[in-house]
Symmetry: C2
Subunit: 202 residues, 2 copies
């Protein structure tokens, strides 16, 4: 059997466009015959290196207003109702560590989808342990195991390494899709193009 093409899906839990991708990427990848690698990371350190202390959607009001309008329109097209959480952006550190902790157990995708839905469709606070625990349970993971694991030095180091790697290959936002040959695609609206590239090249 020939090797299946691979696509890396880099996402940030505080990113509404990452949410839109997370909720639709699996079906599209399956149809395209592409294997996905879910790669949660944090934009905070990357933004900080650019001199931003928060999301550009918070720094630049017109950009923020437009983003909520645009994600609502795009969400509607895919049957997802995006709501603006009360605080935005929220701290996504624990969420990202948990998602990385799920890599070996295979529950990263299910946890990520459940958390995105709680955060951007139900407006829940993703830094709250109750919200994280509910998403873990929905993904078939035991919070009493997963939460301590997410606090281990190993998982913390894994996240730092992922962020460094993301920065080193030129990632500056989310979501990003990276094809097997290193080709970069930024934004939920490039998902189809990225899958096409992954399977056929240019």
């Amino acid at each position: 059997m020939p090797n299946r093409p691979v696509l890396d899906f880099w996402y940030e839990f505080a990113s509404p466009y990452s949410c839109l991708s997370a909720l639709r990427i699996e079906k599209l990848a399956e149809e395209a015959g592409v294997t996905l690698r879910w790669r949660p990371f944090l934009l905070g350190p990357i933004f900080a290196a650019q001199g931003w202390n928060t999301s550009p959607f918070a720094l630049y009001p017109s950009k923020g207003r437009y983003m909520w309008r645009d994600t609502a329109r795009r969400g509607r097209r895919q049957g997802v109702a995006i709501v603006k959480p009360e605080n935005f952006p929220q701290n996504s550190l624990t969420a990202a560590r948990l998602a990385l902790a799920g890599r070996d157990g295979g529950w990263t995708p299910a946890f990520s989808k459940a958390l995105f839905q709680a955060h951007f469709c139900e407006g829940r606070n993703m830094a709250e342990e109750a919200v994280l625990s509910a998403a873990l349970k929905e993904a078939g993971s035991d919070p009493n195991v997963a939460i301590p694991l997410s606090r281990s030095e190993e998982v913390k180091g894994r996240l730092r390494a992922e962020i460094e790697y993301a920065k080193s290959i030129g990632i500056f936002g989310a979501p990003f899709f990276v094809a097997g040959d290193g080709e970069l695609f930024w934004g939920d609206d490039r998902l189809e193009e990225a899958l096409e590239w992954a399977t056929e090249g240019r």
Copy 2:
């Protein structure tokens, strides 16, 4: 005859994504039965209000590198070879004034397309009078009339008013498409959605 829907096309001559839109928008608008209003403006004053002294593609190197790759890919799909001009971004003040000067004579679209092509497909310097004159001639306009007109107080004021208006409705980048009901769409990749909205609403 019922009124045709109208779409405002806000563009900046130093914006590669504006170039991609300018070179494909007329055919799509015609097919959709939408009347276009070409509205050249400057992003410089809008960026300055956000604390940026140049294009974000120049301020943030990864973003800039990605943009040239992305516009090359998108250009290829529409049969346009995008090249990075030697200096980027270039001063687009005279270009924008000229484009506004062409509103009454009706040559704004033809001039804009010719100049975008010279700048982003042939790498010419759009601040040079020879390049501007060639684009004017291609659009059937006499440079000896158009250039002095572009320096008139009336045209200068027209451009300032356009920039103020753009800012007031929440425009923060280019291209932007604005439907008759005020709905905003940002980026060449939203052109189809904007035309659909203009004709059907949401």
